[in-house]
């Protein structure tokens, strides 16, 4: 067969092939694939951030929890989670598409696989936030059980309400990339878990005043924050779910840069004024607070508003960390303040600075739209956080009575690495125990 014959054959068959295939948007598909990979890399950020903020004797256990909560979240989200979140319309949860069978992507032009991939990364992010709050004392098996339940059932239910066509979406609740759905949900789950677990041995004195239990590697913690920030460009700018409106992607990206930048600055200044020195870990938490805060409003506010949102988030997180200590809850990495408190703040900020012309449901309070948007945002936050808190309290209490949530006192003193996994994170290194 000559070349011209081959060409003729191809030309004859080509139109038929095109007609059979669904019309996918290659550029959007590529962007969401890249964004999903960026969000996946946030797992590395969470892992090293949390490992750096615990003592050497527990570093391996925290890394193990980070790997396995992502893995079990992905499995749980494949089997149950996606169907509950996006499977079918309904006020409270979806009921079709278990194992992704027989459904199509809700977004035109995207293959369901790539849409699932992007959403599964989000489910993994929500689950992994909790690892830091329960670090250095939660039993590994109980942690596995919790992370499967959260990502297979609890996260998808809240996600369905907001993103899957549920009742909050119907009311016009706006959470672009998940200040509430991912971060406040993870943060409040961390709060409930840390509260049920109780503080680490030695964290609080008899009079309730807190002691510092220092992390072992600030370089690891800093690397983790930079990796998270890097991945956040996928988290927020990928939540456009396509490249159909490049101006929105661009606005989200610039807001995702400005808010954490000013969050780091305001957290640093707050720590300098309150504690006399510019504190590295609080500045790092401030950057994360800015990122969490801008996650809900990133598409619907101007860069100027993003600066306000990030600046306030940075201050909130420093006071939030002190407040969590004051109510005698032990959160070794500050997850509750950063993800919980700033997640709520970011969601409410949509009701303050959101603009209808940029994609918000209606103009926010400071944009002359009155209290309507703020009211709906407040209702949405209360519903999502309240449901998560109650559901997770039941889950943790149930796990506690069946498996036990907390390791033994002896294991806690020796470290979870050696007793739970039989490993040393720093074998061959001389470890100096200073407290």
């Amino acid at each position: 067969m000559g070349i011209s014959d081959l060409e003729a054959t191809l030309l004859a068959t080509a139109p038929a092939v095109v007609q059979d295939a669904p019309a996918f948007d290659a550029l959007s598909t590529l962007w969401i694939l890249i964004a999903a990979i960026l969000v996946f890399f946030m797992q590395a950020g969470f892992s090293v951030l949390e490992a750096g903020l615990v003592r050497t004797k527990n570093a391996g256990n925290v890394l193990m929890k980070n790997l396995l909560d992502f893995s079990s979240a992905t499995l749980g989200y494949f089997v149950f989670g996606y169907a509950i979140m996006y499977g079918s319309e309904g006020l409270f949860f979806g009921t079709e598409g278990w194992f992704l069978a027989g459904i199509e992507s809700p977004v035109e032009g995207l293959p369901v696989e790539v849409f699932w991939l992007f959403q599964a990364m989000f489910a993994g992010a929500a689950a992994t936030i909790v690892a830091g709050a329960v670090a250095e004392r939660m039993k590994f098996t109980s942690y596995l059980a919790y992370s499967f339940v959260l990502s297979a059932f609890i996260y998808p239910i809240v996600g369905h309400w907001v993103w899957g066509g549920g009742w909050l979406a119907g009311l016009g609740f706006h959470d672009f990339a998940g200040s509430t759905v991912v971060h406040a949900l993870g943060g409040v789950t961390g709060l409930v878990a840390a509260w049920v677990l109780g503080p680490r041995f030695g964290k609080f004195n008899a009079d309730g005043s807190p002691n510092a239990i220092g992390g072992h590697s600030l370089p690891l913690a800093s690397l983790g924050v930079f990796i998270l920030w890097f991945g956040w460009y996928g988290f927020n700018a990928g939540s456009t779910l396509g490249m159909g409106e490049p101006d929105v992607v661009a606005r989200v990206a610039i807001n995702t840069t400005l808010a954490p930048s000013i969050g780091a600055v305001t957290a640093m200044i707050t720590s300098w004024v309150r504690y006399e020195k510019p504190d590295l870990l609080l500045a790092l938490n401030g950057a994360l607070a800015g990122l969490v805060g801008i996650t809900a409003p990133c598409a619907a506010v101007s860069p100027g508003a993003a600066l306000w949102i990030g600046a306030i988030a940075g201050v909130l997180c420093v006071f939030g960390i002190a407040w969590i200590d004051a109510i005698r809850v032990d959160d070794p990495v500050g997850a509750v303040a950063v993800h919980g408190i700033c997640g709520v703040w970011g969601t409410l900020a949509v009701g303050l600075w959101g603009r209808e012309e940029l994609g918000a449901t209606s103009d926010g309070l400071f944009m002359g739209g009155g209290f309507g948007a703020l009211g709906i945002q407040t209702l949405g936050v209360i519903a999502c956080v309240g449901f998560t808190a109650i559901a997770m309290w039941i889950v943790f209490t149930a796990i506690d009575s069946v498996l036990g949530l907390r390791v033994s006192h002896e294991t806690e003193l020796r470290g979870l690495d050696i007793d739970e996994h039989g490993i040393e994170s720093y074998g061959g290194f001389q470890i100096f125990t200073t407290d």
């Binding site: 807190p210 510092a212 220092g214 006399e276 504190d279 609080l282 100096f432 200073t434 407290d435």
Partner: protein, 111 residues
């Protein structure tokens, strides 16, 4: 023969080592240790005050013959004074010394 054990701050080690070298005492062993001091240090960790009572110190061991003892003590003291003034020197008797390679024993095996 005497064993001199000096407990100094890590930042004093370069000056103390140089002073010993200047006094032509070139053998010593340095170890990182933790020690308590009359005054504790105040650290701050994410906004929570931290009272640190076991502080980082260097334990310097120098074995000398009796004739060189005072020179060694003077050198260590001078090095400490040049670098902040803190430090503690302990001197104990040394029963025997062996250089494995040559088999030399006692004061012949020491500076």
């Amino acid at each position: 023969m005497k064993m001199i054990i000096a407990v100094i701050k890590p930042e004093q080690l370069p000056a103390v080592k140089q002073a010993l070298f200047d006094a032509e005492i070139r053998h010593m062993t340095a170890t990182s240790v933790l020690g308590t001091a009359p005054r504790t240090e105040q650290h701050m960790y994410r906004g929570v005050k931290k009272e640190v009572s076991l502080l980082k110190r260097v334990r310097l061991e120098v074995a000398v013959n009796d004739a060189n003892l005072e020179r060694a003590i003077e050198a260590i003291s001078r090095g400490c004074m040049e670098s902040g003034g803190a430090g503690k020197i302990f001197v104990t008797e040394l029963h025997d010394v062996v250089t494995v390679w040559t088999g030399e024993r006692g004061s012949r095996a020491l500076y």
